[in-house]
């Protein structure tokens, strides 16, 4: 989230699209209710289902899953054509005026440079014209035919209300009503917030869904302001934290990135990451990359990271593919190329698409290690449960370790919420029987492996032997020790850059925040964006001052938000070119002639003059990008793409399937279904009574929602002769499940490209362990393809068929 949960009360219009906050994030959704009750805010829901969020909306419009880009492009076109643009904001704070290279174009659903063999674009022409001075060329009058603004208008031209209806199935009048309500937020004193979740990410074009809304928000001037923003409602309690800390194949901590084989040495690695400003006088914050990187390397390898070994650069793996993401790993597993796997609090048997393939992959492992407080289907993937897990146990040769861990109530530490607040919590209970903390388990495996490397040697033992593991009790690092490492400290005296005779941070002291980090090895810091979390003031994540001066919703004294305790990202953009708030009633910060100050930590140097430094300091342009150059694999503008499995062809290019640059493995391509065999559009979702596959282990939640079901419209039920509450079978090209049918008016058939499209809804909370009745999940059906930029599986759109059936059979109990 760019903003905080508590900031939502400041909005005038909430759009929930690609999410269902009332059910999936209920207590956060209360801030929407607050805005409606006390500010007169309105709520729009755009969703294939009439969700519980829709039931309290001021306006609901249906949409076919996977067509959000067409809808949002349509809204952008509407706003531009009806002069509903926050012109001053858009001109000053986006790259609208920049001139784009000749050669860049879009035709038949594809951008310039497409290579169907490689399933990739040559992105060379997707860039600005750079002048001889090294700066971008622009036309502030927006007259130049090749400026971003005019190219964008051209790109949006096909997305008329009629086209939106044809693609999305949203009736034209409903689309126009939504567009009109949104367009009202183009004035400086009206703001919209976007609340989205996995309804946008789980598509082969998920990144572009989000990008389309971000562009709309920029055109309306709604980024960086109170009550505005792009608010990703993260799924798990610390999914934000684990992403920030870089527990991903392609990341290091704080959005530093893993080197690739192209980064042959440290300097080459650095050269493509310390972005130079593209506009004179601009702050380009990534110019500090080296300080963060060297401090990170010192945190990893301590004294063994030295200037003469490039701070241990060769200890870090270099990738030969963009990422060993989960789909790639399970493909490799399926091919028999993976031997071991550790699942810490993760249940891939229910979480990843094409369950049959997942189970087959796990069956080829030599060993599987699971760490969890609860039973999981993954730990027991080898156990036969009749129709619910039909495996041949004896033939599965995988050795499995199921390790019991503590749960939240028995451990201490911080979790990062969706609004980037790092909130500390304390342990209140004794763990059951032999359950252990994850840190203890990790430490034990690590220490024993390191012991073996000391004794026996082995493959490149250096990064293992040299890993910094400097804890009072190496067997179990404490949360405080780890938090302090994340914050970082001075390893030798750090001198004041303005007065080299003065010590800024004495050796051994915690740095106050990342502004004190150095690239000469004198500081260490686990994760720069978190720095400030635990400094010499103490544990800032444990702060509990809940005062909120003038009721802005900022709560600066409550815990710690990254970066630098800032609550609203890009808040410099809440003020105009003179530094005055666009809306004085919703001031965040203000320029007083010498400095920025206000209710939040300014997202700009406190002394950066308003007219001189652009607000988007993480971009080398200083502006936000309506045109994203070559930075996204599937296009600098969002373009309509169908899901890989879609009931209708892409109207721009009927031969194009899914995202033209998504990676598709061979066996998965053969397992994609067509709409003649699988005519219905399947989708997956959560229910408010359950959290993923955990709460089926809780008796209360299992009593509230005891049994797996699928949801279909009255029309489809009639067509198929399916009674409400009767058993049905739902199957895709990859798997088959049985469920009770819930026949509902919450789902209605849509008319897309002239034909009716029926939707089959599949909730995701059931398996074969726990207190609830045994059931299935949508991942038995979903396709093994992912987003072109990040490889998130397309779990929200797949094709199925459905028929009346009988109850599934459990394994027969022999007595």
């Amino acid at each position: 989230m760019t903003n905080a949960w508590t900031d939502i009360k400041n909005t005038d219009l909430v759009i929930v699209m690609g999410g269902n906050a009332a059910e999936a994030h209920p207590c956060g959704f209360k801030w929407v209710t607050e805005a409606k009750a006390h500010r007169g805010a309105k709520l729009i829901v755009v969703d294939p289902r009439y969700t519980r969020t829709a039931s309290v909306a001021d306006y609901y419009a249906p949409i076919r899953q996977g067509t959000d880009i067409a809808f949002l492009n349509g809204v952008m076109k509407y706003c531009i054509e009806n002069n509903k643009v926050q012109w001053e904001y858009m001109r000053a704070f986006t790259n609208a005026a920049y001139i784009v290279k000749d050669g860049f174009a879009y035709k038949d659903g594809l951008f310039t440079g497409y290579d169907p063999e490689k399933r990739d674009y040559d992105r060379d022409s997707w860039d600005y014209v750079i002048g001889e001075d090294g700066f971008v060329t622009s036309d502030p009058t927006l007259q130049h035919p090749r400026c971003v603004w005019n190219l964008l208008k051209e790109h949006l031209a096909p997305y008329t209300p009629e086209m939106v209806e044809r693609i999305c199935g949203t009736p034209k009048d409903k689309f126009l009503k939504v567009a009109e309500m949104i367009s009202e937020c183009s004035t400086p004193t009206k703001t919209m917030t976007s609340m989205y979740a996995l309804g946008w990410t789980q598509h082969s074009h998920g990144s572009q869904n989000i990008r389309a809304m971000a562009m709309l928000q920029l055109i309306l001037g709604n980024i960086g302001v109170r009550g505005g923003g792009m608010n990703a409602l993260r799924g798990h309690s610390n999914i934000q934290g684990l992403t920030d800390l870089g527990l991903m194949s392609h990341l290091l901590t704080g959005y530093l990135t893993m080197p690739s084989e192209k980064d042959t040495d440290f300097e080459t690695y650095m050269s493509s990451r310390q972005f130079k400003p593209l506009v004179p006088g601009q702050t380009s914050y990534w110019q500090n990359y080296r300080k963060f990187m060297v401090s990170f390397q010192k945190a990893m390898w301590g004294d063994k990271a030295r200037a003469d070994n490039d701070w241990g650069f060769n200890y870090i793996s270099k990738l030969d593919v963009p990422a060993y993401d989960v789909l790639r790993m399970f493909e490799l597993m399926y091919q028999g190329k993976v031997n071991g796997y550790l699942c810490q609090g993760f249940n891939p048997v229910l979480a990843f698409p094409n369950r049959a393939k997942i189970t087959e992959g796990l069956s080829k492992l030599k060993f599987l290690i699971t760490m969890d407080p609860l039973e999981t289907e993954t730990a027991r993937f080898w156990e036969n449960h009749g129709d619910f897990n039909d495996v041949d146990t004896a033939s599965i040769q995988t050795e499995v370790f199921q390790l019991p861990t503590t749960c939240f109530a028995e451990e201490e530490g911080s979790l990062t919420n969706s609004g980037r607040w790092l909130q500390w919590h304390w342990a209140g209970g004794t763990p059951p029987a032999e359950a252990k903390h994850d840190t203890y388990i990790i430490a034990q495996i690590f220490l024993r492996m390191r012991e073996l490397y000391k004794k026996e040697g082995g493959a490149f033992p250096d990064p293992v032997l040299d890993l910094s593991w400097d804890y009072a009790d190496p067997n179990e690092p404490t949360p405080e020790e780890l938090a302090k490492e994340i914050n970082g400290r001075a390893l030798s005296d750090v001198m004041d850059p303005t007065d080299p005779t003065k010590v800024q941070v004495a050796a051994g002291k915690q740095v106050v925040n990342f502004s004190q980090l150095r690239d000469d090895g004198s500081t260490m810091c686990g994760c720069w964006i978190y720095s400030g979390n635990f400094n010499e003031q103490g544990n800032n994540m444990a702060r509990r001052d809940n005062h909120d001066p003038d009721d802005t919703g900022a709560y600066l004294g409550w815990t710690f938000a990254w970066p630098l305790n800032r609550r609203t990202l890009y808040n410099r953009a809440s003020a105009d070119l003179q530094g005055k708030p666009w809306d004085p009633t919703r001031k965040i910060i203000e320029w007083d002639g010498t400095k920025w100050s206000g209710y939040d930590v300014p997202d700009i140097s406190p002394t950066a003059k308003p007219g001189e430094v652009g607000p988007f300091i993480m971009n080398q342009e200083g502006t936000a990008r309506l045109f994203t150059r070559g930075m996204m694999r599937d296009g600098p503008f969002p373009a309509h793409m169908e899901p890989f499995e879609s009931p209708v062809a892409n109207v721009f290019n009927p031969k194009m399937r899914g995202n033209p640059v998504s990676r598709v493995f061979e066996t998965d391509a053969a397992q994609l279904g067509l709409s003649d065999e699988f005519p219905y559009a399947g989708t997956s979702y959560r229910l408010t009574e359950h959290f993923h596959y955990w709460t089926k282990h809780n008796r209360v939640n299992s009593a509230l929602q005891p049994e797996f079901f699928v949801e279909i419209s009255v029309e489809l039920a009639e067509e198929k002769g399916i009674e409400n509450g009767s058993w049905v079978r739902v199957w895709s090209k990859r798997g088959s499940i049985k469920a009770k049918a819930v026949v509902t008016k919450r789902i209605r058939p849509l008319i897309c490209d002239g034909k009716p499209v029926h939707i089959v809804g599949v909730p995701l909370h059931w398996g074969f362990t726990g207190s609830a009745k045994k059931g299935f999940g949508p991942n038995s059906l979903a396709a093994f393809v992912g987003d072109a930029n990040i490889d998130t599986p397309e779990s929200k759109a797949f094709l199925v068929n459905i028929e009346p059936s009988t109850a599934p059979k459990d394994k027969e109990l022999v007595s």
């Binding site: 207590c27 999914i239 527990l247 790993m329 609090g345 609860l374 209140g428």
Partner: protein
Amino acid sequence: MNLDLSRRSFLKLAGAGVAATSVGAMGFGEAEAAEAAHVRPFKLATTTETRNTCPYCSVACGVILYSKGDLRKGETADIVHIEGDADHPTNRGTLCPKGAALKDFVKSPTRLQYPMHRKPGSDKFERISWDEAFDRMARLMKDDRDANFTATNQNGLPVNRWSTTGMLAASATTNETAWATFKFAKGLGIVGFDNQARV
């Protein structure tokens, strides 16, 4: 009297404290005092309160854990109740149907108790000691790393990749656990390393 009572001390005063102090001080007869001594104090007045957050969704509602016994005093602590934290700015004491039933997660009949081991081809889990499990896992992992590690690519460039063992990290663990996990996985050169953010 200190009027700035925390809720906890208020409960104590109203419950357990009554018989011992106020009743006598106010001059009740012995019979009444004896009667009052039999009144069971409020359940929560005898518990330890701990601040925590709901581990499910990213709203991260504040909760209060009530336990019999106090971990900070080195006692065994048994959680008997969990409710919303009224001081928390986001949820202000409220919880959704998931958070409201959190105690059932802590006390779930399918909470894991002991390390378990499944032999290849077996149809059951069997108990294994932590020590034996750690030794065996470290052995399996090291052997796989040594056998399949890619030290350099075809150009002789050090690439330091271990791709035959992968790891999924848990996005419900703390940042501190995550950092320890990160060091472990990236230090070993595990490239197939992800968390729920990917899916």
